[in-house]
Symmetry: C2
Subunit: 321 residues, 2 copies
Amino acid sequence: MDRLIEAIENAQNPSVVGLDPTEALVPPQVVASFADEVRDSVEDENELPAAQLAVAYFEFNRAIIDAVADIVPAVKPQIAMYEALGPAGIDVYTMTCEYAQQQGLYVLGDIKRGDIGSTAAAYAGHLSGVGAGETAYDPWHEDAVTVNPYLGTDGITPFVDAAAAHDKDVFVLVRTSNPSSKELQELDLAGGGKLYEHVADLVEGWGEPTRGERGYSRVGAVVGATHPEEGAALRERMPHTFFLVPGYGAQGGTAAGVAGMFDKDGSGAIVNSSRGIIGAWKKTGAWNESMSADQALDLVASAARDAAADMRDDLRVSVYR
Amino acid sequence: MDRLIEAIENAQNPSVVGLDPTEALVPPQVVASFADEVRDSVEDENELPAAQLAVAYFEFNRAIIDAVADIVPAVKPQIAMYEALGPAGIDVYTMTCEYAQQQGLYVLGDIKRGDIGSTAAAYAGHLSGVGAGETAYDPWHEDAVTVNPYLGTDGITPFVDAAAAHDKDVFVLVRTSNPSSKELQELDLAGGGKLYEHVADLVEGWGEPTRGERGYSRVGAVVGATHPEEGAALRERMPHTFFLVPGYGAQGGTAAGVAGMFDKDGSGAIVNSSRGIIGAWKKTGAWNESMSADQALDLVASAARDAAADMRDDLRVSVYR
């Protein structure tokens, strides 16, 4: 986790921009501008909308990455949004990750994979790539990925091994930000504590052999911003586990609420905002349908930069006390 | 789940072939035979091995699908094995699913996705495709997918809705076949029962509005063959939930062991075997390095067909009592 911590310190900004495009978040003239370009690339007329949207997602992401790269340490593309478009979307996911890495950003792939044995090892290819040595090929361009713990250690170890071998990181779901997360995660266990606390202890243990110079292991935890008190208690419970904190902004999490998820030095966590930044252009009131695609992307970029700077400033006040 | 049940009845065979290729499972001359073909398709020399393996996976899968299509009702491609090769692998995953559907097989995409809200809705695109009506485009060609329950109802509902709208199904992880599955799934709850039993009750409830003519809902459960007694108890506990049973063969599950996961009519479950069928050629002793690629694929196909027929016959004896 040392690379991420250093990037956060350099930017003095413990936040990450979620690159989760949807059709509703991309200005329509940007999508329309690629109608001709993609026509030759598809075999079937019905593939056109997905192909067009995929290209538009990349240009949208590039505008945002360019706008925020000097003020945020990291981006978190949510692979589901790309996967929804099929293989064309997956291509754009990898292009987005590669472009973000080229701009110096730490790329946290929000893939929430989880399986067992040889299958988990295959998913760990997100971190290890294909092959090794001089002919190694990394199709994904991710610095970390998120993983689901329901299958236990078998499903985690291949990711931890791959992370250790490639100077990358893993974030395991512990306490998610959504309302129904309580259905499993808050269950009281016969041996005491709640399920998410048991998972927290497993995560702290999984990370133990990989602690870095800053005291945090390569195995982080996903802890939703919508649970401020639980998050603060988990901070105490998992002293060597770095937190990825989703749910800030649109889902209701606040800078004051997440303050307890940081350690006494203002480290230990990174807070994600997606719609609040990439959809900030919709709240400016400045968009109109007669804008050109380039004008619309400029608006997306400047609104995203302003929103990212506001979030940074909010977090600085609460976290760097 | 009616379509799957009907396919099983037509084949009198409650088994599914796991299409989980790895480099070790594909005869080397098959991989080598595509060296020239892929050279023009890659931008970077280092992409060659992954691109070559991806094409070889498709030909390997096609040989197996052709060999078993008239004796098995379904195939289950494990997306991780393809994802390990990057976007080129994802393309081949979708090509495999499409080809299997064209041969009349029910395609169970083993994707184990799980996320919340709009993100889960994006993943549910695996079942709903892109767009609607006459211009709808289905990039995935899956009839069902597997889903992880750790995030609760929020993560499941979008899949169930998509399944109901498109006559497809969902299988939720309940009790997985791997050794460390006990770390979470067997935890005793303060309110009584174990975590996997609580999840089982949620799954039965999630399926309730979607019960079909055969009495089973569109929300199935993944229950490992390595837990015969728990599986039989779950069969009683979840009377309207169809089971996908992995872990037969290579992982130690037996036909006798899975018998209790079927209902009194011999329905209610489908048993998966992957390596035992797609890797059967390695146990024939008939392979040698001087074979042509076509000869090696013929061996793969005939060994897979024999192994699939053996599994069917074993299950018939245990299940159709």
